[in-house]
Amino acid sequence: MEIPYTSEPRPDTGLTNPKIGIWLFLASEVMLFGSLFSAYALLRMGAETWPDQSAVLSVPLATLNTVILIVSSATIVLALAAVRAGRIDAYRRFMGLTILGGAAFLVVKAFEYSDKFAQGLVPATDNFLALYFTLTGLHALHVVGGLVVNLYLWGPGVRMWRTDPARFTGRIEVAGLYWHFVDVVWIFLFPVLYLL
């Protein structure tokens, strides 16, 4: 028997199953990053000394990464709009750009990390760097996860467009919501770790 409401919304809730599912998952992610941010606040406020963050880290690289991630967030929602309009070529273009954005973000991040390691700055150095590596590392893992999903939906997953377009559109929406969330986390990480 088919599971109802996988691609058409249930009338009384107005939502499809995957959409509720992803929002619930994002709620738990909010709690995860919320817990880590509260750890940051407690450790920083309780510290006797705290390094000048913007002197230790590279603000230009982080600004570049912020721009990259925000642009990729825009391209994935443009990809969704394209799917909804039935323009599958435009969809592939925008999703491709999103993937490039995610990959570029990781490349910049790798440069940043190797630069820190080269200066002998590692997680064990002090609690600021410990938090920096843990928070950005976890965020980078989220980027990797999103990249894998987006790559699938750009490549082999696009076949579903012909067999079940409504469900495919739902998948793009869900992948997009996740990707925007990753962007939102970075929007907070950027000032908290680099600027304050």
């Binding site: 028997m1 619930l24 407690l42």
Partner: protein, 601 residues
């Protein structure tokens, strides 16, 4: 599956070099694998959860039996012990303190995270929620399969940790740093296993909530949901929003252990007379906050499904609607929310100021109100009923006073003035064991006896069931009540020698021996259950689809419910869940799916 397993016959002919045979078997029996191991049917997954978690309950309980033996006969050799746990852990049959600490930490971890929660949520929730709301399956069947396998993987990692150098985690089930930061590598395995279990719970919670919100059958409005479904909904929200805190904490502790950070290590920390070579500046209390932000809601994860099961069984066996259904639902909403605001009552001894302490004492006292409302409603549901005293009902009835004792003994722990002397004594152990063992586990047993006929089409044996019930009730009380007495006399928990080095423990030390004997007795009476469970699978009395004459939708499905789809055709719901003994009717129950015209006849 009738007759000898095709696996067994095939593999026995294959001989030792069976890789090719496995391949053949894989090709020949893909259906078998798909049906029993990698099925996406919620009922199969529910049963996988059930058997795995019952296995872990047995493992966790065995550790507890060893603990009780050690408490009663500390330092005495038991040759069998070397055989069981190896020369490393018990040279000459004498249990080493290091191994004793592993027993304590892993008993708690296994019982809570691998036994009770997976049985209450993974097994009962998975099997019953789609049936009770009239759905063909869970909303995300493949995600469901993934949650089970993450859980199984977490279990394997936890068990494997006993065999790594230095043994399993030994810093208590709470894994407090700085101790846990310096524990042998078993602690890292504990953290890895915990991350897998957290992942499993999160996926499960997403699935449960979506299922309950989206897949309710036509006519199944919110206030026609059986109370059990409500408890699963709230439980899922607790899992979803509380577990990430432990996820974060486990990541931080993992960094401390593997990358040399000092999230939980303060400056100037000395270990064994030596200054520790770390950056410092961390806070050990940060772990406690994050841990208990999960672990207090986790208490309600243990309790709520039990309340749900008991409510179903009491309504059915007293042939009456539950008393104050809506009030009970509102109560567990309040309970669920407040459970996020009480966590620091586990931390009164950490030197927090009186203001914060007062806030947490207030929320702790407030949260007892909804619990009392639910418990009172369940007791009042019995009033005026024509009660059937069968095995599930006996367990459900015993749940009420046992859970009551657990709850009431919790009040002194919720108030700082009385908590300070009682903290970390056996009183605490007695208190939460009353909640979880003769409380939650009794409810789970009740559920197994109650829904067994739906799953198998056969009844479990009533005599064996009663023996199991009476034996468990008596022995559990003989184990846990003396703990309260010892604790009030000031006996600390987690003592390898059972408290022998403390003079003030002297008057209550003798209790360790009867407690140990009661634990052995409890182990023995579980044999009734295990025999009953397996014997009834084949030999139980055959029954129809609705032997208890119950009203909720799972009894409207064929027995066993259809693979992938449950019902012959999806039901429609016409009324609330507990329409028993409606005046003016020929029968004393009105199932939810029977239209008014037919029911009225």
């Amino acid at each position: 599956m009738a007759g000898p397993s095709p696996w067994a016959t095939h593999l026995s002919h294959a001989g030792p070099c069976s890789l090719a045979a496995l391949r053949t078997a894989w090709l020949r029996y893909p259906n078998l694998l798909r049906r029993y191991l990698f099925s996406t049917d919620h009922k199969v997954i529910g049963l996988q959860y059930a058997f795995t978690s019952l296995f872990f309950l047995l493992v966790g309980f065995s550790l507890a039996v060893l603990i009780r033996w050690q408490q009663a006969y500390a330092g005495q050799p038991l040759p069998l012990l070397t055989l069981l746990v190896g020369e490393v852990n018990a040279p000459g049959g004498i249990m080493l303190p290091e191994f004793y600490n592993q027993l304590g930490a892993m008993h708690g971890t296994i019982m809570v995270f691998l036994g009770v929660v997976p049985l209450a949520v993974g097994a009962f929730g998975n099997y019953l929620v789609p049936l009770q709301i009239g759905a063909p399956d869970m909303a995300f069947p493949r995600l469901n399969l993934a949650s089970y396998w993450f859980y199984a993987a977490g279990g394997v990692v936890m068990l494997a940790s006993f065999f790594v150098p230095g043994g399993a985690a030994m810093s208590g089930w709470t894994s407090y740093p700085p101790l846990a930061d310096f524990a042998p590598q078993g602690q890292t395995w504990w953290l890895a296993g915990m991350l897998l279990l957290v992942l499993s719970s999160l996926l499960g919670a997403v699935n449960f909530i979506t299922t309950i919100v989206q897949l309710r059958a036509p006519g199944m409005t919110w206030f026609r949901l059986p109370f059990f479904v409500w408890t699963q909904l709230i439980t899922s929200f607790l899992l979803l929003l509380a577990f990430p805190a432990l996820q974060a904490a486990a990541i931080l502790q993992g960094m401390d252990r593997l990358a040399g950070t000092s999230f939980f290590l303060p400056s100037g920390l000395m270990v064994g007379g030596q200054a520790v070579d770390v950056a410092g500046g961390g806070s050990a209390l940060l772990w406690q906050h994050l841990f208990w932000f999960l672990a207090h809601p986790e208490v309600y994860v243990l309790v709520l499904p039990a309340m749900g099961i008991v409510a179903e069984i009491i309504a059915n066996n007293s042939r009456k609607p539950v008393f104050g259904y809506r009030l009970m639902v509102y109560s567990i909403f309040v309970l669920g929310f407040l459970s996020f605001t009480v966590w620091a009552h586990h931390m009164y001894l950490t030197g927090m100021g009186t203001t914060i302490s007062a806030i947490f004492q207030a929320t702790t006292m407030i949260i007892s109100i909804p619990s009392v409302i639910v418990l009172s409603a369940l007791v009042l549901s019995l009033h005026g009923g024509s009660i059937r005293f069968n095995t599930p009902m006996l367990f459900a009835l015993a749940f009420l006073p046992m859970f009551g004792i657990g709850g009431l003994t919790g009040l002194p722990l919720g108030l700082a003035a009385t908590d300070i002397p009682l903290h970390d004594t056996n009183y605490v152990v007695g208190h939460f064991h009353y909640l979880v063992a003769p409380g939650t586990i009794f409810a789970l047993f009740a559920g197994i006896y109650h829904w067994f006929p739906k799953i198998t089409g056969r009844m479990m044996n009533e005599t064996l069931g009663r023996l199991h019930f009476a034996g468990s009730l008596v022995t559990m009380n003989l184990i846990f009540f003396p703990m309260l007495m010892q604790g009030m006399a000031g006996v600390n928990r987690r003592l390898w020698d059972g408290g022998a080095i403390y003079q003030h423990a002297e008057p209550v030390l003798y209790l360790n021996v009867p407690m140990a004997h009661a634990a052995f007795g409890l182990a023995l009476v579980q044999v009734f259950f295990i025999v009953n469970l397996f014997m009834s699978l084949k030999g139980g009395r055959r029954v129809t689809a609705n032997p208890w004459e119950a009203t909720t939708l799972e009894w409207a499905a064929p027995t066993p419910p259809r693979a992938h789809g449950n019902f012959d055709e999806l039901p429609r719901v016409y009324r609330g869940p507990y329409e028993y003994s409606v005046p003016g009717m020929d029968v004393d129950f009105l199932p939810q799916h029977v239209p008014d015209a037919k029911a009225g006849a």
